[in-house]
Amino acid sequence: MEQVKCECGHVNPIGTVLCEACGKPLEEVPMLLDMRYEGSARRSQTYNQTIVDKIWNFFSSVKVGIWLIVITLVASAIGTIYPQQMYIPPTVSPAEYYEQQYGWLGKWYYALGFHDLYSSWWYMLLIALIGVSLVICSLDRVVPLYRALNNQRVTRNEQFLQRQRLFSRAQATDYETALRHVVDKLTKRGYRIREENGNILAEKGRFSRWGPYVNHIGLIIFLIGAMLRFVPGMYVDENMWIREGEIKEIPGTKGKYFLENKKFIFEVYEKEKEKEAFQPAIDRVGSGMMAKNYQTDVVLYERVGPVVAGEEPKLKRIKSFSIRVNEPLKHDHYALYQVDFKLDELKNMSFHLTDKQTNKSFGTITIDLIQPEKEYDLGNGYKVQLLSYFPDFYFDENGNPNTRSKVPNNPAFVFKMFAPDRPKGEVSFTAIRQTIEPLGDNKYKMSFAGIETRNVSALTVRRDFTLWILGVGGAIFMIGLIQGMYWNHRRVWIQRINDEVLVAAHTNKNWFGLKKELEGIFNDTPFVMPIDQADKRS
């Protein structure tokens, strides 16, 4: 029992509401026909036998699809309540951070994966299930719809015609001549005419019905593109901080490429330097308040020979480039974008070794804050040893000096100062605006003599082989959307039954447009313009 035979002789799949061929209702239906999917049998509604069918039918439901979308939307909204993981300080563990900051809510936020929503397994599962729902919903509807539109006959069942929203019935006088006239006009309007025993089916814009499905194909391609980002080598998204003067490996290139930062430039709009026309605008925000340019002048190198991490690389210069915002350095499908910067990071710090009493200096040492020396010899028996170095100094919970990171944000030193009259040396703890002499009063001190700074630039490293797939998916998505939105599928049936002319018309959208068009076609013919039966009833 998988088929239903209509009185017109056509055999329909079970679950069909309106006969695919003649349109006769096969079930109890309301006065006006619901023409969605042409009354065809959505396959989900019919077979429900195996577990595979049950899973299939679950996803075939539009209701399920909409719920999946709603749940995803709600989850996304919740994900904006507290900051995402990438925005919390990188030095703290997220497990502790969320609980400390937001209490038990924060704890659950973290535990459930809301802190890194797009990477949490259940969020990805939701997106994937939407994808599954999309595929199955579409397949289950497009195939029967195609069958129904392909099998439709010119001559329809009377019930089908009179239950269309636009319908009229009149006495047939001089039918043949009038019909020729109408067919002529319909053809001019772009309708394709099929004729059968003096009955007419005029149809145009059927391809508009495929719009939603084309759109869904685009979406699926888009999702596949997004999925391919997880395939190794398809997608690289890394960050690098590079100081002026540094040569560093570019992360994500597997040790193949190196970058040198020659200079980082930050410019603002200044009153004196800009043209007359810009003066009022600069006045409004204040001179020097608006950024004009962020730029890193770099040199790109390629490593020659085998890659052994950590080994001093042999480098071949490839090119120099000025990276600016939206003007990335591109090479070998990699792109380096300007994303962030830090001005005036400490580079060197200088100190005089001085006698506290007389203020006499016995020499100056300059300390490289990235790689300080162990010992600085000043000659004549004066020297300074560096016992400890804390680039980012603070006192930890035990009261000991410690460092927060390896970045010289707040350098502190433990010096041992030697002089001819202090051969065993004196120990001094020196930080910015702070000196501690842990072992009693010293004769000498390290007095601050100056600093040198440099800028640090942050770059994003991108390599994306999925972009074109996303582009193709997006384009198909738009084509489907336009196809479904800007064209209407319009049909007009004209049929003579006994001595009456029946005219019915249907469109999948824009009834107003169809009525306007039909007025133009029927106004000077003996046929009666079909009446909107939906209006009549209300």
Binding site: E2, Y47, T50, V52, D53, I55, W56, S93, S119, S120, W121, M124, L125, A128, G131, V132, V135, I136, L139, I224, M227, F230, V231, P232, I247, K248, E249, P251, G252, K254, G255, V308, A309, G310, E311, L369, I370, Q371, P372, E373, K374, L386, L387, S388, Y389, F390, P391, D392, N402, T403, R404, S405, K406
Partner: protein
């Protein structure tokens, strides 16, 4: 007809399930995609505090306990003494420790090493090259490498002395 429909549906569902499974598996259940358990450990050369070159590939035939650390990282500080004492037990059984500092100043590292009297080689990854190769995120991170140079396990987070012992036992040749 019925048969055909069943197989068609099964195949479509199976393809979609495979795609979803792969995506979620590769993204969530594999730590940091660039390097995984089962891969062979990327070779590297770094210089230790005494100026000796340490190359990973020279350690074939031994188990290597590769630890990434920084002096500011409290959990690293906590587990260093454990690693040190277990190293003294397991070095006679063919397990070596290489502690890679994440590019701090030599003075800072030396102070730390002296304070805890670490006896295993401590190298400094001055240019982040080794960190990139091993895709190091938060510290500490430990890689267990067996005698064939394969990564047996990747541990992020603090270890107790018991853990350290257990891990060294695993890579004993």
């Amino acid at each position: 007809m019925k048969e055909k429909r069943f197989w068609l549906r099964t195949v479509i569902l199976a393809i979609m399930l495979a795609a979803i499974g792969y995506t979620i598996y590769s993204n969530v259940f594999v730590e940091k995609r660039a390097i995984q358990v089962g891969d062979s450990a990327p070779d590297f050369v770094l210089t230790d505090l005494n100026g000796n070159k340490i190359q990973l590939s020279d350690y074939r035939g031994k188990g290597v306990f590769l630890n990434f650390w920084g002096t500011w990282c409290k959990p690293c500080e906590k587990e260093m003494p454990y690693i040190n004492s277990q190293y003294n037990v397991y070095k006679n059984e063919g397990v070596e420790v290489i502690a890679v500092n994440v590019g701090e100043a030599k003075v800072t590292v030396q102070t730390f090493v002296d304070r805890f009297q670490l006896t295993f080689p401590v190298v400094i990854d001055q240019q982040d090259q080794v960190m990139n190769a091993y895709n190091i995120g938060p510290l500490p991170a430990t890689f267990l490498i067996d005698k064939e140079g394969k990564i047996v396990d990747i541990i992020t987070g603090t270890m107790t002395e018991e853990d350290v012992k257990k891990y060294m036992e695993r890579i004993k040749p």
